[in-house]
Every structure is written in C-alpha cells, then in structure tokens.
C-alpha cells in the first residue's frame, strides 16, 4: 500500500537526513538567526522574572476564552509578520529580476532568489496570511468578544476551545519547521494540481503544507462547533435574537461557513494525502484520476473560506462605526439579512476561481451571476455604514479611521471583483496580477478591520489604551503602502504581468515595480510604528488606564464590565433589555448601576490536556511529513488515549463565593488578564496533574 519512495529512509528518522537542513542557504541562515534572536529576546525576560511557571499555568493551560483569544491573536500577528516578510521578499525579487539584463545575486540568475526558493516563498506567503494570520486573529477576536457580547461566562466547551487553539498553533509550528528542516511547498497556497502529486513534488514541501492545513482546519472546525453552540445556548437572559450584537451575528454566520466548509478541505487534503502516501489515483494525470476534482473540492472550501474571513471583518466595522458616530447602526435587520445572504451565496460561487478551465458557457454563466449577486448584500452593508455615519457625531479615533478606509478598500476590491465575475473579462485578465491586486484589496480590508478591532478592544482586555499618536502613524503609512503597491499592481495586471513570476521578461514594467517597492518601504515604516505603538502604550500604561467603557460611546454589552475584563467576565449575569444594551442603560441612567448583591459563580478549571494534544499533533504532523512512522503512530495513539483519559476526569470546576466576589468587586481589584487568575485553588492545583 505504501508508496515506495526514492532516496534514503531509516526507521528512526524516516526521510530526514542532515542534508535536509538548508544550512548553506544564506537567506535561510539569516531567517534562522532572526528567529533565534527573537526567541532569546522573549525567553530572557521570562526566565529573568521567573515567569515560566506563570506562563505555563496561567496561559498555556488556561481555558479562559479571553486568554485563548489573546493567544490566537498573538499567533496570528507573529504569522502575519512572517507573511509580511515573505511578501516583502517577493516584491524585492520581482523588482530586481525585471528584464534580461537584471543582475543576479547569491545563487540566482536574476534577482536574489532561485526559482524553487521563490516558489516556496509565495506559497508560504499565501498559506500564512490566509490560514495562519487572518484566520487565527479573527477566531481570537470572536473568542474574546462573543461571550462578552452575549453576557456569557465562557464558551460552551472551554477545554475544547483550548484544544482548537493548540491545534492551530501546531499547524503554524509545522510551517515554521518547514523553514529550517526540509523545504516548503512550491505549489502555491491552493496546492496546484498535479504539481502537488508525488512525481512532481517528491520532497516534503507539499506534505508540510498539507498537514499544517489539515491539523489547523480540525482546530477551526472544533472552534466553529464551540462558537455556534455558545451563541445558541449561552446567551444571557433577555439577549433575544433581535438584540444580538452585529459582531456576534457575523461570527455566527462565519462559523456556520467554517463548520460546513472545512470538512471539504479535509476531504480534498486527505485524498491528496492518499495519493502521496498510499499511491491511489484521485488526482493523478494517469490511471483514471481527475485533476478537476481536486480543484473543485479545494474551492468548494476555498471560496466560503474567503467569506469566512470577510464576514467578521464586516461585523467589526459594524460595531465601530456606530460607536464613533454616536448613533445606532442603520438598518440592523438588513445588516443581519445581508450577512446571511453573503454566507449563503458563498456556497454557489466557487467555480469563478477557474472560469477558464472550460466548464462550458452555462456553468460559467450560473457562477458568474451567483458571484455578481454577492454585490447586492455587500452594497446593502456599505450603504448601511454610510447612513450610520450620516448626521452622526463622528470622532476620528484610530479604529474609526481604519473602519472608514476599510469601506473604501471594499469598494475598490468589490468593484474589481464584479469585473472579474464576468467570464468575458475573466478570460482576458485571469492569472494576471490584476487578480492579485483585487483579492489583496479584499484581504487588506480584512486586515484594516483587524487593526481597527485590535485598537478598539485592546483597552477592554488589557485595561489601558493604545497610544493614539503612533497608532495614527501606523495607520497612515499602512494605507499609503497599500495604495502605492496595489494601484501599481492593477496597472501591471493590465500590462500583462502574470502572477507568481520569479523572473519578469518585460523591462517596461520596471517603473511600476519600483513604485510597488516604494509601497513596501511605506509598509516597513508602518510596521515600525506598530511596534512603537505597542512599546509606548505598554511603557505609558499607567497614564492610559481606562474605565469600563474606554471610548465613552460604546454601545454593546462587553463594555458593561470592568476593563481589564475580570476572569469571571460579569460579577452578576446582566439582564438584557434592549439592542445596544449599554447605550440603552446610558440613555436611561442605568449605566453605572452595579448589582446590589452577589451569588456564587461557577468556573471551569485549567487543564494541561489541550496543550499536550497540541504538542502531540505537531509530533503527528512532523512524523507524517518525514514518514517517521513510530513518531506519527505514537502521537496519534497518545492523543486518542489522552482524550479517553480526559473523559474519565470530568472537570468539577470551582466556585467563587459571594464574599470573595464582593471583595474583588468593591476594592476594584478584579484580576485582569495579566494577573494570576485566581488565588491558587486547592482543587485546581490538584487537577493540573
């Protein structure tokens, strides 16, 4: 059954040999040194301040939805930084490799990256940005905000929530490992078939890509189950469906997509894996395989996945614009309807990713019309946002700046999308960088919303505001970079530049490529300001402390409790009386009315099992990639054993007594996210082991 591989294989190390570590490649050595320095920079303070136990106990073993969300966001930001470096390298390669007379550096004929290395970089850029950057950040935001917005104490399944996180982390770690051990896929983030088949990609690159996606997609599916159950079953009393905050609505719709789309990705990757490991013929060119089957299965997931990312971004914008316009959201009901319309149509548009594959005019027409239909609910959303701002009392804080620019990005990305939905146009520009510029406008709109959300909700989670001065500069340079790079890229698309080129044959493209590189410089400056924003904010945190509602005009339930949010979320479960509960309480003079007494509160205990499952699933992935069967087999059996073992140790949780709660609330020393969550609890200590 097992495919017979060429090249060495040993039972202990599988395919792994010393020669698989690319220690001769200067680019990778630099990346390695950078990673080591960054790792030391993190490890030294942790060890110096003796915080290792704290981090393990309070973060790695935590089942608190806010901490899990923060860890998701940190994971996403780190991966986004790596994806950004990949993007920077792609742009720099293209500007240095334009025309036959362009010089070659290092081992490349043109530019500084040989083709095989360049291909790995664009593949990892796409995979990282979509699956491991934007995905985890939005999941993390949903994790933090949704239970707060619906007045819940935690997710429906806290321990499974932690398992989802650690599965995503282990997928991301597999991609990190591919940087230094072996190589990464050269077949793009979509896994171009049949390039991903064993005869054409015999190295471990495709396996890394495949297992990283597979493991993290299991995490996403579990998280979708968790969030949907939480929203349906854990709402506070009075939180009727017509009072559900819009971000919660979009998270619900996005996770319905996640729940139904990710299994299809799992099938596509599993069948590809069967081809690569067991020698089957699902997608091979010969022996009765069908290439288009992979392409269809992949995009049946792939297109809903795009809406999986964009819908929460719409939700974020819909939360921020009312807050800073001091008006309720215009057209709440139509907004919800539009969200679900987009989520529904998401299922009937996948073929527009390959109009030119020759499915025939009727099929193309169906998918073309379906794709254009998406423009209607999206248009509804844009008008709703604009009418929310109309005659509002607008304050241009940074989250608002990001949100308004996101609408403009949506306009550019959306209108070019409608152009591409027309098969006649699509035949002309498909595979050109015009398409790249289009979908980067869409994903950058998501990035804009993400930065808006991080700045908007950061004070809620950490109790102090981010520095406005540097965050505005971060915003300005990021937008400048975006406009510069992608305006030029739209033009280059019309001039005929195709995507994924490591060498560009037309010297006339050079001026616009230089413009793009200037845009990259702007992006670099903005990244600098991002780090400055974090540094200044943390340094001046004493001065930027904020109360329950840091913005003064927030409308939804999460701003009712303290900032930083205590580990129990709400001392007493709020009773919801209106849509935009906080705005209602403010208008009726109840905003500062605390509960008059407290009742016992039951909380879940931390658990080591999720993080161990994460480590083991990395072991499983790594073993499968290198065909180290004992490692993969042991990890898989250990995961199953741990899950069974876990089912024998039900979590009794612990109870916060009314006295404890009154003390914490009255002295306003409710422990925030950075503090030890709870005075060491005898039962909790015991259960950790």
């Amino acid at each position: 059954m097992l495919v017979h591989l060429q090249g060495p294989w040993s039972p202990w190390f599988g395919r792994l040999t010393l020669g698989d570590i690319p220690y001769t490649n200067p680019v990778i050595i630099f990346a390695f040194l950078f990673t080591v320095v960054a790792g030391i920079a993190l490890a030294v303070p942790v060890l110096y301040y003796r915080k290792l136990g704290y981090i393990f106990r309070e973060w790695l073993c935590s089942v608190d939805h806010k901490k899990i969300g923060v860890m998701y966001i940190i994971l996403g930001l780190v991966m986004m930084f790596r994806g950004f470096i990949d993007g920077m390298m792609i742009r720099t390669q293209q500007v240095t490799a334009d025309g036959p007379h362009s010089p070659g550096f290092l081992s490349a004929q043109h530019g500084y990256l040989p083709p095989a290395h360049f291909d790995q970089i664009y593949s990892s850029h796409g995979t990282l940005m979509i699956i491991f950057a934007v995905g985890p950040i939005l999941t993390g935001l949903g994790n933090i905000i949704v239970p707060l917005q619906i007045g819940a104490r935690d997710m429906a399944f806290p321990r499974m929530n932690a398992i989802s996180l650690w599965l995503s982390v282990s997928g991301a770690m597999l991609i990190m490992a591919s940087l230094f051990i072996g190589d990464f896929s050269t077949a793009g983030w979509v896994g171009l078939i049949p390039l991903t088949e064993l005869p054409y990609s015999p190295s471990v690159g495709v396996d890394y890509w495949m297992w990283a996606l597979q493991i993290s997609s299991i995490g996403t599916t579990l998280n979708a189950i968790n969030i949907i159950t939480t929203i349906i079953a854990m709402r506070a009393p009075g939180m009727r469906w017509d009072r559900l905050p819009i971000f919660t609505w979009t998270t619900l719709s996005t996770n319905i997509i996640g729940l139904t789309a990710f299994p299809i990705l799992g099938v596509a990757l599993a069948l590809l894996g069967a081809d690569r490991y067991l020698g089957t013929h699902f997608f091979t060119g010969g022996q009765g395989g069908n290439l288009m089957l992979y392409t269809d299965l992949f995009w049946i997931w792939g297109h809903p996945e795009v809406y999986f990312l964009v819908l929460p971004a719409f939700g974020i914008i819909s939360e921020i614009i009312p807050t800073f316009s001091e008006k309720p959201l215009f057209g709440y009901t139509t907004m919800v309807a539009a969200t679900f319309a987009i989520a529904g149509v998401a299922w009937a548009v996948w073929l527009h990713h390959f109009f030119t594959m020759g499915a025939g005019p009727w099929v193309n027409t169906f998918f073309s019309v379906a794709t254009m239909l998406v423009g209607i609910p999206t248009g509804v959303k844009v008008f709703n946002w604009i009418l929310t701002m109309y005659r509002g009392r607008i304050t241009y804080t940074t989250p608002m700046l990001w949100s308004v620019s996101a609408i403009l990005m949506l306009l550019i990305g959306g209108l070019t999308g409608i152009m591409l939905a027309n098969p006649a146009i699509n035949y002309t520009v498909h595979n050109s960088v015009f398409v790249i510029a289009h979908f980067h406008c869409m994903v950058l709109l998501i990035a804009f919303a993400i930065f808006a959300a991080i700045i908007y909700w950061f004070p809620k989670v950490f109790g102090f505001r981010l520095d406005e001065h540097s965050s505005k500069r971060f915003f300005i340079f990021f937008v400048l970079g975006t406009v510069t790079v992608f305006t030029a890229m739209f033009a280059l698309g019309f001039m005929g530049e195709t995507r994924r080129l490591d060498y560009l044959y037309d010297p006339q493209w050079l001026p616009l490529l230089i413009v793009e590189e200037i845009g990259i410089v702007f992006y670099c400056i903005s990244v600098g300001y991002f780090f400055r924003m974090l540094y200044v904010s943390i340094r001046d945190r004493g001065r930027n402390q904020c109360g329950a509602d840091p913005w003064g005009t927030a409308r939804t339930l999460e701003f009712l409790t303290h900032s930083p949010v205590p580990f129990y979320n709400f001392a007493v479960t709020p009773h919801v009386n209106a849509l935009d509960e906080l705005a209602w309480r403010r208008a009726n003079g109840h905003a500062d009315t605390p509960p008059d007494h407290y009742e016992p509160v039951h909380m879940p205990n931390s658990s080591m099992i999720p993080v161990i499952i994460g480590v083991l699933s990395f072991g499983f992935g790594f073993g499968m990639v290198w065909r180290i069967w004992w490692m993969a087999g042991f990890s898989l059996l250990a995961i199953i054993a741990l899950i069974i073992l876990g089912s024998f140790m039900p979590d009794p949780g612990y109870t916060i007594s009314p006295e404890e709660m009154r003390e914490m609330e009255a002295q306003h020393r409710a422990p925030g996210i950075m503090a030890d969550s709870h005075p060491p609890h005898p039962a909790a200590e015991e259960r950790l082991v």
Partner: protein
C-alpha cells in the same frame, strides 16, 4: 453590605442574580449535532468524489463497479449495521429504566454486530485485493476503497467509544456526563448506519445497474 442599592426599581431589571443554569445535556447534544453536521459534510465530499470518479474512463481499463460490488454479500453487512443500531436503541430503552445491566447488554450486542460488520467488510477487501483490485489500480478503485474505508474507520471509532462507555457505566453509573455521552453515541451510531445505507445504495446497488 456596602454596595449601593439598585436605583433601577420598578419594572426595569438590570441583573439576573440567579440565571437559569445552562442544561449541560442539551448544550453538549447541540454541540454534538453540529459535529455530526461536519461529519456529514465529509461524507458529502467523499460521495461527490465517488460520483465524479465512477465513470468508465476512471476505471483506467481495470475493474469497474459492476465487477467489484456484491450487493447480496453487502446486504449481510447492511443487516449487521441496522441490527446493531437496534441493539443500541434497546440499550437506550434500558437507560430510561436505569438498568445498568440492560444498557451494558445492549451495547455489547451492538458491539458484536458492529464487529461482524467490520469483519465482513475486511473479508470483502481481502477478496478484492486478492483479485488484484487494489486502490492503486485506478481512480475508481481509489475512491471506492477510500469511501468505504472512511465509513469503516468511523465504525471502528464507534466501537472504541462503546468500549469506553462500558467501562464508564460500570465505574460512574448514569451520571449526567455518562448519559450525555451515551446519547451522543446513539446519534453517532445511527448516523453511521444512515451513511452505510447511502453507501449501499450509491455504491453497491448503483454498481450493478449497467
């Protein structure tokens, strides 16, 4: 108590001091239904792949469905899986009566019939392998084996789960957690049976239609 009295008064209620506790059984069952939905999508993907690859072209000169499926033999499998579900359902009837022995007996019977099902399936695979019909032979045989083996893998996990539940019933009795798991397992087992019915119709019965 130093906390100020609520100024709300009257009709407005701001806090819910004793919220109705969330029903753990219904919450977990909802979560499990959602998981089953994602599992259904996995099978939907596999059935779609089967539909695509069940063409004469995809047999690549090797055996076609007509030559590898035996609906009569597979009927015994169908019978085994459906009676297994019946046995499990009898276990849940015993669960209502709170009879530990009755539940254990029902689960044991369900496991035995599940094992019969898997044994018949393995036997079928061995026969096919012996005549040279292996997954490597053609695109059609790849999807044939992977679809059926995916279902078989689910059945095997169901059996493992039953084994765990037998131990938990003996050890913990019918606690909320155990009962929730028994109900989820019933859902899982019935779902796998319905998937098998689809396999039987779309693979075995459709296979003999020329």
């Amino acid at each position: 108590m130093s906390a100020p009295k609520s100024t709300a008064g009257g009709a407005v209620q701001l806090w819910e001091y004793q919220p109705k506790p969330h029903d753990p059984v219904s919450t977990k069952t909802l979560g499990f239904w959602l998981y089953m939905l994602s599992d259904a999508l996995i099978f939907a993907g596999l059935f779609a792949a089967y539909g695509v690859l069940d063409q004469p072209m995809n047999a690549a000169g090797g055996p076609t469905a007509m030559q590898v499926v035996h609906p009569v033999a597979a009927f015994w499998q169908t019978l085994a899986v459906l009676t297994s579900v019946l046995a499990y359902s009898l276990a849940t009837v015993a669960l209502k009566a709170g009879s530990r022995a009755g539940v254990a007996l029902g689960i044991l019977a369900a496991m035995a019939l599940g094992l019969v099902f898997l044994g018949l399936e393995l036997n079928d695979f061995v026969t096919l392998f012996a005549m040279g019909a292996t997954p490597e032979r053609s695109g059609f045989l790849s999807v044939f084996f992977v679809l059926i083996a995916s279902h078989g893998l689910h059945m095997a996990f169901g059996l493992l789960w039953m084994l765990v539940m037998l131990v938990q019933i003996m050890r913990f009795g019918f606690t909320t957690e155990v009962v929730t798991r028994l109900l989820s397992l019933r859902l899982f087992w019935q779902f796998q049976a319905s998937v098998w019915v689809c396999v039987y119709v779309f693979v075995y019965l459709k296979g003999i239609v020329p």
